[in-house]
Amino acid sequence: VSLGPPILLATETVDVTATVAWWVMPLALFLATMVLGVLAVIGGLGGGTIFVPLVSGFFPFHLDFVRAAGLLVALAGALAAGPELLRRNLADLRLVLPVALVASASSIAGAHLGLALPTSWLQLALGAVVVLITGVMILGRGLEFPEVAGPDALGRALGLGGAYYETSLGRTIAWRVHRTWTGLAAFVLIGLMAGVFGIGAGWANVPALNLLMGAPLKIAAGTSVVLLSITDTSAAWVYLHEGAVVPLIVVPSVAGMMIGSRIGVQILDRAHPRVIRIVVIAMLLFAGVRALLKGLGAWA
């Protein structure tokens, strides 16, 4: 004889998402990342950067799996865009090589650190980093052609510099870098953060290459993309070996972001980048504050 629905004790909790059909969340993730891909392109933000804070904030997946998926989303995006940037000389492989060496080594350390830290600490640190990212996005303005009086000894020894055709000016721009050692030190930290949080590090790569090392803004942006394809590779292997790559989370994310990015490029001319950028930054800020509060135990 049925006595009606079971009564839950006050101390029991039910994960509602665990009772829905298995395909609902991956499908929702695919649609959401497709929208994120569109917003990322129109708002001029890295898809990998916005993926982890937003997906970890609004989906039931553990942060370990979201960070692994975030790295693979950033990696797939970088691998898709990198070849064309290299072909058009908007990314410079000579500049990528030394920077990638330090960034990829530290991203491995970061990935191990991220998987060893308690989730609450990670939430707290992620929240702080995301708030920092929104600050960089709001305040950060790159220099199109930074003044570089002369290359430093290391930059000269490695021949870090080149030339590209600047269509807006209709002429070839020659460039070189300075403060190479300081730049490499910055990339140790950037690689570490990429590994810990699984976020694409474009938001930090571009200012480091442009404002610190003096690469022109277009070269910094293009080189940053190719750099991601190497930095994220090393960290992604760590997550793969640690069992944090869940196909039901990774593949919809990668596919959604790639399709969304293509749609974003198609509708770029008709969109309002400023409005979309503000919306995405507001969403990021909300996700960052939420992660901070979750880390502090103030948000259930």
Binding site: M25, L75, I230, A235, L240, G243, A244
Partner: protein, 132 residues
Amino acid sequence: VGVTEQRLFARVLRAGTAVSVAVLVLAFGAYVAGVAPARVPLDEMPRYWGLAVGEYLRQTGLPRGWGWLALLRHGETMTLAGVSLLTSVSIVAYLAILPGLLGRREAALALIVMAELGILMLAASGVLGARP
């Protein structure tokens, strides 16, 4: 790094990405369509994806490291093969440009490329995080 190496690096990235994404999509399609049987039943996955990775592996019995290679007939591990191809593309691109750098006696950059290959292969080997 000359124009030749930069173009070669780009070509390898492009081709490698195309192959990896194709394998990834086909394997995932086989997994969710049930053509390749799932090691962990799909309808049980919502119970596990909210767990931390250590607990997830303990409860599902899925392996760490290269253990998934022994389970390649399963859909989720077949999909991991596509992921591992994607994470190998840069390694192949580095291998492709190394002979050119050595041939032109670009010693400093050749050393950097060899060091990077060492780091990437170390990460890919799984030695750093090896646990049972």
